[in-house]
Symmetry: C3
Subunit: 263 residues, 3 copies
């Protein structure tokens, strides 16, 4: 499904244009996310004050919203930033971290689907199922369902919302409702590093900034995550070294590595 | 004092049950803490909004409260979460970071002892002494006293509060007022990595979730920290590589390593 | 320009006195900043609540203010902390992250120049130019200008404010308006790790705590950053390993390494 030449083209564009990606994200992953964006060649900025999010989104090339450590003032800023992003015509990528784990996360996610009108939604299987079905259970922020089981939900969610929907898991799925693609790269060790999903969302932001076909952009971003993660895991002695090697792998990613690892 | 077989049993339980540990902790260490919990096999979640902490604590297996970067809205959330944790019957682990450094930290710690009724308290010597004695001095968040000097305070605090009290330092002490155990593992280099104490508190949370004898659970958690830290320090070139190797060591910790390092 | 003997003397003082550096900084870099301060031998504390910042600054040896993820309550705390720092006679180091990127950041930076009366200001070229000239453009938090182009602005800013001004970039410049020094160490790879500028600001804080000649202290701090970064980059495979090796390099920095690398 993945056109390797077009993937390489998008990666080159990210590095050439170094798009400014405005993140309103959670405390746990801000550092990882910023480092991953820098490593892949994008330019991250974190800003959450209602006093400035509209201005920051207006000069950015993509907006990433992540509710991992949500609270009302941050959610308010996300809605304001999304409005500004839509006015500026830039993609809005949404990560519904922990949707289904608490009513507050589920309700906020549902509100944000309506108010922020995301261009891309990326979550794990539990989160994506929960966006469609309030009765789904999420254990904290980890998935209790396999990504395969959520594909139909993702397709329905894509049709409902008009967003590209990405499920990450052992296999990643990307769908716009009509097309559905898969990424079979990655390593189980990635799930032992916090914020790898959030980092994927941020990288989707970077690729969405350079390729207006958001289905393709998301697929390419997930492939980059999976390939860099798999390359990093090869030789890692555990999650600590994986995390370090992952940033190195993003930085060094090139056609040779991509062709070597892609499935 | 440490029964190695029971330590190994607890470690296996953490990995098998992957307990959800709800952390309301400080900004500096959220990433470390989450990664350490994932590396040891637990499932971390960070959530601090008053809108959801009761719900999150209710589905968790342990609650960890850490005042490292406290402010009133976070403290309020900690009290609400603790109430929910007690209703759910899960352990509440409290880290009084910097108690004694400012009146606000000392007063908040004293209030939390009363209102949150912690099951386990883990701090450095200065912090533990300060919980009993408002005149003790703490330099920022680092200890100005040796852990040995605080043992009597820890025992008194345990008797006063009914909590297991853990002092970390060159030697770690764990006491429930009646029993007092020691952990003699670790490395001085660990004190050059931020948040190692906070990570210990989170790991105590994970072990408390699987062993209802909280004295034993805390002792096992501190032994795991010390052994992983000591294994990581062997071969580390400084605090950067120690931090990376520590997560790898937690992930790879097994009976052989434990028997090799434990004192 | 740099007197190597005096640089080594300052480094020894940081390690001997382990000055408490009170940071009110951004979420992205808190962990890095704390780790860099620990690695170089200082003692970091992060505290932002208006309830305690005056007390914390009063027991600290330097105060570092960084607006990377500013919001009104944090800015208010910065102003209160700065007042306390001036009363206590300790240096106030200011990092105007993203000044020029949004009106809120520019206005806040201008207000803080007046209200916090910083002893040292460290920024990239865009930020320093923007402090003097509201029409300068900043792309997010990265500079769009070379450090050379900002030297005149830095000198003017130093004369205006009485602060030592530091511009970091390919070449770092330090000026008190009368004297201007350069640091030619470092590596381009450092710009691919988030928060290296913020870390520089924190290290300036540590050196300012031990050397009352803040021009010299700032120059020494920037040399330490550049040398450790350059040593770390030699042998790094990308930004992930650079970050790890940088902390090791700070920890291991000694006269031999300094004399080997300094230009």
């Amino acid at each position: 499904m993945i056109n390797i030449d077009r993937l390489i083209e998008d990666l080159a564009k990210v590095r050439e244009k170094s798009p400014l990606v405005h993140n309103i994200t959670n405390y746990v992953v801000m550092n990882n996310t910023a480092n991953a964006l820098l490593a892949i060649g994008a330019s991250p900025v974190m800003a959450h004050a209602v006093e400035e999010v509209a201005d920051m989104a207006a000069i950015a090339s993509a907006l990433v919203l992540n509710i991992g450590t949500l609270e009302p003032s941050w959610v308010k800023a996300m809605v304001i930033a999304a409005e500004s992003a839509h006015r500026a015509g830039i993609p809005v990528v949404f990560d519904p971290v922990g949707a289904g784990a608490t009513p507050y996360r589920s309700d906020t996610s549902a509100m944000m689907l309506r108010e922020c009108r995301p261009s891309v939604i990326r979550g794990n299987a539990s989160e994506i199922i929960s966006l469609l079905n309030a009765s789904a259970k999420t254990k904290g922020v980890d998935s209790t369902a396999s990504s395969d089981s959520a594909v139909a939900s993702a397709q329905a969610l894509a049709k409902d919302t008009g967003a590209v929907v990405v499920i990450s898991g052992a296999v990643d799925y990307v769908t716009d409702g009509a097309r559905t693609g898969e990424v079979r790269n990655g390593s189980p060790l990635m799930s032992r590093v916090t914020g790898m999903g959030c980092t994927a969302t941020a990288v989707v932001g970077a690729f969405s900034a350079v390729n207006p076909d958001l289905f393709e952009a998301s697929l390419h971003a997930m492939a980059v995550m999976g390939i860099a993660g798999e390359a990093a895991a090869s030789g890692a002695e555990g999650p600590g070294s994986l995390q370090m090697r992952f940033l190195d792998a993003l930085y060094n990613l090139d056609e040779t590595v991509i062709r070597q690892y892609i499935r």
